[in-house]
Point group: D2
Chain length 300, copies 4
Amino acid sequence: YLVAIGKADIDLRTIGQLPGILDIHRVSDEYKLVSRKWRVRPTVLDLGDGVRIGEGSLSIMAGPCSIESEAQMEKIMQHLVDNDVRIMRGGVFKPRSSPYSFRGLGMDGLKLFHQMARARGIKIITEVMQVSQVEEMHDYVDVFQVGARNTQNFNLLDALGGVDKPVLIKRGISGTLEELLSSAEYVFSGGNEKLILCERGIRTFETASRNTLDLNAVPILKEKTHLPVIVDPSHGIGIRDYVAPMALAGVMAGADGIVYEAHEKPEEAASDGAQTLNFAESARLVRNLRRVYALRQELE
Amino acid sequence: YLVAIGKADIDLRTIGQLPGILDIHRVSDEYKLVSRKWRVRPTVLDLGDGVRIGEGSLSIMAGPCSIESEAQMEKIMQHLVDNDVRIMRGGVFKPRSSPYSFRGLGMDGLKLFHQMARARGIKIITEVMQVSQVEEMHDYVDVFQVGARNTQNFNLLDALGGVDKPVLIKRGISGTLEELLSSAEYVFSGGNEKLILCERGIRTFETASRNTLDLNAVPILKEKTHLPVIVDPSHGIGIRDYVAPMALAGVMAGADGIVYEAHEKPEEAASDGAQTLNFAESARLVRNLRRVYALRQELE
Amino acid sequence: YLVAIGKADIDLRTIGQLPGILDIHRVSDEYKLVSRKWRVRPTVLDLGDGVRIGEGSLSIMAGPCSIESEAQMEKIMQHLVDNDVRIMRGGVFKPRSSPYSFRGLGMDGLKLFHQMARARGIKIITEVMQVSQVEEMHDYVDVFQVGARNTQNFNLLDALGGVDKPVLIKRGISGTLEELLSSAEYVFSGGNEKLILCERGIRTFETASRNTLDLNAVPILKEKTHLPVIVDPSHGIGIRDYVAPMALAGVMAGADGIVYEAHEKPEEAASDGAQTLNFAESARLVRNLRRVYALRQELE
Amino acid sequence: YLVAIGKADIDLRTIGQLPGILDIHRVSDEYKLVSRKWRVRPTVLDLGDGVRIGEGSLSIMAGPCSIESEAQMEKIMQHLVDNDVRIMRGGVFKPRSSPYSFRGLGMDGLKLFHQMARARGIKIITEVMQVSQVEEMHDYVDVFQVGARNTQNFNLLDALGGVDKPVLIKRGISGTLEELLSSAEYVFSGGNEKLILCERGIRTFETASRNTLDLNAVPILKEKTHLPVIVDPSHGIGIRDYVAPMALAGVMAGADGIVYEAHEKPEEAASDGAQTLNFAESARLVRNLRRVYALRQELE
């Protein structure tokens, strides 16, 4: 794309007549390419094997905070297959705020994750944390996830602008929606249009929950951009009992999908156990999410 | 009630044997009487004529920010009757952050409001702003509303502890859920158990919406207290187009009701026009709210 | 005053020629009377007996959170006299967030407070919490304090607009500086120009301190308004060891005075002990405050 | 170091008798090595040529947001030399929130910056944005700066744990002080003890300033850690007129130094002009900072 920036009044026709110009748009937002003013039709991403993200389908992504072992993956994948959930989340490189915590299985874990997922028709979303990982992870992921601490890691965003895989960008922990859209613009302007935005809770004064899941973000983003919007209630509210109601509310607010943490035995998970659903809770949530989504489609 | 406070270990049986003691509870929260640990069964308020607030029904409260004239009330009441909405909101004393703004019609307006509502079987909720108004407003309201700026006006809470009318307490604009529960405790400990809590948006760093409607409050409050929980999406998000999706999401998150602003011509409203629905939007919202509530009742 | 509001372009000369018009100002802020655009010279309040608040002097106000007893007051007043501190703070009506806490000595306490202070040449600042108290407290206070929970209690502000005593308005716990100025405007437009603004800490995500004392407010308010600006480090940071450095920093940022909590035995205070200085700390702070203020006067 | 973590009660003597053990400390904070409980004496960093950072000296760091050209550097360096400021700040890789903004001169700019600074006895602090830059920048910087968007970029912190140059870590825009200390712990536990912490403003609801410079951080950090604490008023408050009072207040609150933006013609700066001082303002600030620091040393 050519994105022309300027304050001057320009006669668009003088540009439109240049050779090689297919289309011209005048956009006044700070973010231009991801704005609905530029592209009115919602973006739908096709992951293959009938798995789509965006308008027209409800994307459910579930899995543990971190990949821990083959046995753990075996169990969670069977749970996903049983409930027809087609996308699995799971971290292999874990950003930890203390230097003394578990840091993930790394590339070996990812390769095993990929091999097991392929065998079961499951797509993978996992977090990329730095530029050097983009290339090595590329062949083993279906969706790159940019975490809340990297929403404004512009070097990473630049690198992801050059790949042909979808990228889910989480809102920063104190990031405005404008900033989230601007981060998406970074990747989009680099050439990668396969983007997904994710609301995952912001930091406020309230301490009754881990974060404040900001569902206002859903209708606001859906109006401002053509990109799919996903809600992460697990990190968003951070307390197991409240994950399901907030997930259902997120779909009713207009989300295109939900990503949540599930584990065979949450109390034994290497991380995030307090916000992770067990399989019975997860299966019930999936059934309810689909009923809520079906109703939303019917509403006037 | 006798609320005994202390750190010492007490043998409850020594108290239970005293004359006049019906029941004893040990509660560790700062708020005691409004806690589910004290009373497990949800509180349901009966406003008469079949209008109830709490578990088992969805309360819809609609109306203008401010009562402006007889003609205005006539129109909105007809709209409510047409849509079987039984509770009307509308301010008569308006708290305004600038000394140069419209301040409401006062007691004369309230008396007319009451007379017109009674004639149509409509219940009234309106804001009380100071102690001296409690008595003069008493006979003309069905539910007293305590606004977000008065959530911690303890003199007002004390006064409302002595009346026999329901009180809806809005969360402070930067109030924690603990503080909201503690304010309810104030009124409850004064003798008035007819309480309703209302989430109406908090102040955060985000500027894309007027406030950040915090739907996390719904499941958290529903677990911590036996009181009904209402959501106010109009003040919560403050932008007309987003009121309906946030209202629907609020019900899906578990709210017992929704209070929102509606006006025949929002653009001509004396206040809050930017967040007010017109009658067509309002009617559609009411229909959708009832479908969402019906589904919620069916979910596992 | 006549405050004229409108968007139309008006020829000021047509107004200036009307009888009874002394002066005309065009002000574009939401707050008009308290703006420096209206009055360039800083407001200085004279409490009598040589006690002034505003440009040209450093006002130190100290005392306990709450007045507790004659003996307590005797000791703190002696401490103030010994250190030439001329203004004593102390609550008689305490706003408490739990209904089960100490609520203050009330009017009897205030009368004793006043009698003892007068005998020692000490001026009194204490909090007024509701409209009905304005008249009964009037003769016993030198400065009315409006607490952080009442910054937008417009009925109270209206009532204080009609008295001839100075009013110190604390910033709301989540109040913007615009809102604080607008609250001052309320009182000023009611006829009472004797106003003082007070920064006392805001609510943020940070939990290492009770509140976040926002010293940015000092230079911003000093530029926007002609009113004196006071800093309350005790409530602002809420931890005893940090009160002194923040008080000194507040003066260096440009504050016209400091109000802080002191008590003979902080650990025995009925309230706020954790943020209260003992007499040795208080005396040292007073000496240091005066040195910092003296240096500030000398800086270029 | 060996940092042993565990909940069990351990008899320290059994460890102390092992070969190779010099000293043992029991620390209960999440951050251990940077805590004052582990090392009581304040850390002082020696940059050579008599330039020190930490207790006993006031570090002044000034310069433009971004290095723009040789001519620009020539002028600012002359200004620094004239005012005996020994450390120059200036970005060569700029993190920009929009993909369409100036991104800095890169390594060529840094090499020129280094050469010119060496010739004048000036030390350099500049931001490193990703792991791959650590090695290439190493020989040309005196202090690595970790920006507010990278405070929790743990890969970058790991890399900086392995170098022998000082690292200044800025607090995240919504980072708690605990998180800042934990980030320092990351680098320290990697082997690099040469750390400096920097308060640079947090994100709150207030919009009167760009950020809310949180001077409370200064006394809190000085008590919790042995590391030097620097204040950045330029980014902290973000408005030119308020930079100087906040800088002076920061020193009075206990800061070991100030970093601020200065430019010959702020209005022509490639970035951050609105918060940048011109040379006259900068020179006056330096003189005043030294007087305030001198007084602070004298206070009881």
